[in-house]
């Protein structure tokens, strides 16, 4: 394959990777930004979204309908579970950073082993809603992957609009800036926290439903998105939506292009190195506000 087609394929792969990263990371970024809770179970909410998508798609006979049904059913279910988790677990720990990390680690094991028990150990496919394939002269490419890029842009845009333009978004941002003052102004911080945690988990599940037709639902699939989400969120700046998007683009494109031209392990080394450099020289991330 010549250099031109190779670069085209690398850019396509990188863009798709960036979209997947941004989708997976936005929920984590939100949870941390507003609640200052490091949700280690984020990857398992993602996994749960994919597994539920498979379960829903099984129950609906046609592929496009199954996908739409999964899109409508899985994220709210996962969000509801996260809401319950917040009120029964995190709230009782008073959102203490160390305790919540340990608690969400425990939660991640519960979710993972629960999925193993009830869903089984196999990787299960979910059919894409359409099977368009782009045939370039040198290679074929899945049209659905490009749809994921579009969907990621839509989801990020919707989250941005929600935070900037809606009353709930305003309340969330107020809580993010100062929890005590927000409470003094009559904001029900407990509900904001539960809502944020649910929204973060729901976004993870939404990302998973979008991504599962290009990978598979599997009970161990939460590891990678968790790690990559952390990388993206640390580089982009905790709680910054713009930072998350830009970091996802940097990491995704770098990974796509580097791993096409060099051994893929090198791309992982570069991503990890970038995290280390950001932590050393700009601990708040590229777009994060310095800690007060």
């Amino acid at each position: 394959m010549g250099t031109g087609p190779l670069l085209l394929l690398a850019t396509l792969e990188g863009t798709v990777m960036a979209a997947v990263l941004a989708l997976a990371a936005v929920g984590l970024s939100l949870t941390f930004g507003v609640m200052r809770v490091v949700n280690v179970a984020h990857g398992e909410f993602y996994m749960l979204g994919a597994v539920l998508a498979w379960a829903v798609a099984q129950a609906v006979p046609s592929a496009p309908l199954g996908f739409v049904a999964a899109l409508l059913i899985a994220p709210p279910l996962v969000a509801a579970l996260a809401w319950v988790t917040d009120t029964t677990l995190l709230k009782r720990l008073n959102y203490d950073p160390e305790s919540t990390i340990v608690a969400t680690i425990g939660l991640s094991y519960l979710l993972q082993q629960g999925a193993l028990s009830f869903f089984g150990p196999d990787a299960r496919p979910v059919a894409a809603p359409f099977s368009l394939r782009l045939q370039f002269p040198w290679f074929g490419y899945s049209g659905y992957k490009l749809f994921v890029v579009l969907a990621a842009l839509l989801v990020l845009g919707a989250v941005w609009l929600f935070l900037r333009r809606s009353k709930a978004g305003l309340v969330m941002r107020a809580t993010q800036v100062d929890r005590n003052t927000a409470r003094a102004f009559g904001i029900n911080v407990d509900r904001v926290y539960a809502g944020t945690f649910a929204l973060g988990a729901g976004l993870a599940a939404l990302a998973a439903v979008l991504v599962v037709p290009i990978s598979q639902a599997h009970y161990l699939m939460g590891h990678d998105p968790l790690l990559l989400s952390f990388i993206v969120v640390i580089i982009g700046g905790l709680g910054s939506l713009r930072g998350t998007l830009i970091a996802a683009l940097i990491i995704g494109l770098a990974d796509g292009i580097l791993s096409m031209l060099y051994p893929p392990t090198l791309a992982k080394i570069v991503a990890t190195l970038a995290v280390a450099l950001v932590l050393v020289f700009r601990p708040q991330g590229l777009f994060g506000a310095p800690a007060r």
Binding site: M1, E13, P121, A123, S131, F139, G140, Y141
Partner: protein, 422 residues
């Protein structure tokens, strides 16, 4: 072929199970205590799909052995212990099965990194360790006298026996895609040698980390002049690999594709995105789809392990078996029974006698004890050799198009374990 005990047939199922439960049934043994077999099981981790079916196969084989009177007149028990498909945990499981459960021997692991990580501990504990892993690490001399592989042919023999068919039927310029660890390296090394011996050429070797989840980035490395793409993948991402391969070639020109069924074990070939596999070829250790000329015992074996004629669970057509590999568990238990009876095995003090008894074996006849087919056993290298099958996807089903002879896969001994001390 082995026949069912006559009285079981006469007394019928109810009487048979009543007999199995009665202590008098095992009265001939010096000790009526059960023989305890430890099973190192990939219940979780990347090998979990295999683990589930290995457990079912082991249970089915156990039921059959106990229904036929157990081993040396004693009932048999299997203690399953999950190793998480993790080498470190694997060695701990060996310890636990021997020290805590007091198992007489251990069998069952598939993944080569687990086997290589656990075998040294089995050697230290001086406990027979019968693996079902396909790896060349047993016959290569890398492991020890306590480690045996009497249930499944190793990768070296598998690929050597099939290379002539691949180069003569599909093409001589081959690109290999394989997982970057011991099992994949066996494929790389021995298939390369076998293809070159046939006058063929490996034009590219693409190693993929076993934890990889996205594969499109590797495909541009496939040279355009490739005649045959040889793929073998393991782990939960295998389906993604095959689907992305299909997307990459799309409707354009593509080489012939020859894969190890490992790339699609526990995966339904009728799944979305797999249409392009039509007309491609697969290695199978044991044909997933019941072939028209299947031997008489094939149906009995499928019924025992709960697999239908398409290779899926009888209770759930979407639950596809790891059929090409799981016979090794069934056959290994047959060898354990035969070996313990030949050694007059009574207690853990007889473990060495058991290993010596297995080493003295020379082969196994096809039948309900050895459902995959006739095999030759090499006591010096602790490795068994059987036929291999090549199947073609026709109408979404795997139809056998070639069977190798056992001799095709034989190679010179690299070790003589019988000269090593216990």
């Amino acid at each position: 072929m082995t026949h069912l005990p006559r009285r079981c047939v006469l007394a019928g199922l109810a009487a048979g199970s009543a007999l199995a439960l009665s202590p008098a049934r095992f009265a001939m043994a010096q000790s009526a205590a059960p023989i305890k077999l430890g099973f190192q099981l990939h219940r979780t981790g990347i090998g979990a799909s295999y683990g589930r079916w290995y457990e079912r196969t082991a249970q089915a084989a156990l039921t059959r052995v106990n229904a036929a009177g157990g081993i040396n007149g004693r009932p048999v028990e299997i203690v399953f212990e999950d190793d998480g498909t993790d080498p470190k945990r694997g060695a701990e499981v060996v310890d636990k099965l021997v020290s805590q459960h007091g198992c007489d021997l251990i069998f069952g692991p598939l993944f080569s990194h687990v086997v290589i990580g656990s075998a040294p501990r089995a050697g230290e504990l001086k406990v027979p360790y019968l693996v079902c892993s396909e790896g060349y690490h047993v016959a290569s001399g890398m492991l020890n006298r306590w480690t045996l592989q009497p249930g499944i042919t190793d990768v070296r023999a598998q690929v050597s026996s099939m290379a002539p068919w691949v180069t003569s039927t599909l093409g001589k310029k081959v690109t290999m895609v394989f997982p970057d660890y011991a099992f994949g390296h066996d494929h790389r090394d021995f298939f390369t040698a076998a293809v070159e011996a046939q006058g063929g050429q490996i034009v590219a070797k693409i190693a993929v980390p076993p934890t990889e989840t996205s594969f499109t980035r590797y495909f541009p490395q496939i040279p355009a002049d490739t005649d045959v793409l040889y793929h073998v993948m393991v782990g939960p991402a295998v389906l993604t690999f095959v689907k992305e391969l299909g997307e990459f070639y799309g409707s354009g020109a593509r080489p012939q594709i020859f894969g190890f069924i490992d790339s699609l074990e526990a995966v339904d070939l009728a799944g979305p995105g797999l249409e392009f596999l039509e007309g491609t070829h697969f290695w199978e250790g044991h044909c997933r789809v019941k072939q028209a000329d299947a031997p008489a015992w094939e149906g009995e074996y499928r019924a025992a392990v709960g697999v239908d004629d398409n290779g899926a669970s009888v209770s759930d057509a979407k639950d596809v078996a790891t059929y090409a590999h799981m016979f090794s568990v069934w056959e290994t238990l047959s060898v354990i029974k035969q070996g313990m009876e030949a050694a007059g095995y009574q207690s853990t003090a007889d473990r060495q006698k058991f290993v010596e008894a297995v080493e003295a074996m020379t082969g196994f006849d096809a039948g309900l004890d050895h459902v995959q087919g006739t095999k030759t056993f090499n006591g010096k290298t602790h490795q068994v050799f059987g036929q291999q099958f090549i199947s073609k996807v026709e109408g979404g089903k795997l139809i056998r198009v070639h069977a190798t002879a056992i001799e095709d896969g034989l190679y010179p001994d690299a070790v003589d374990y019988t000269t090593q001390s216990f």
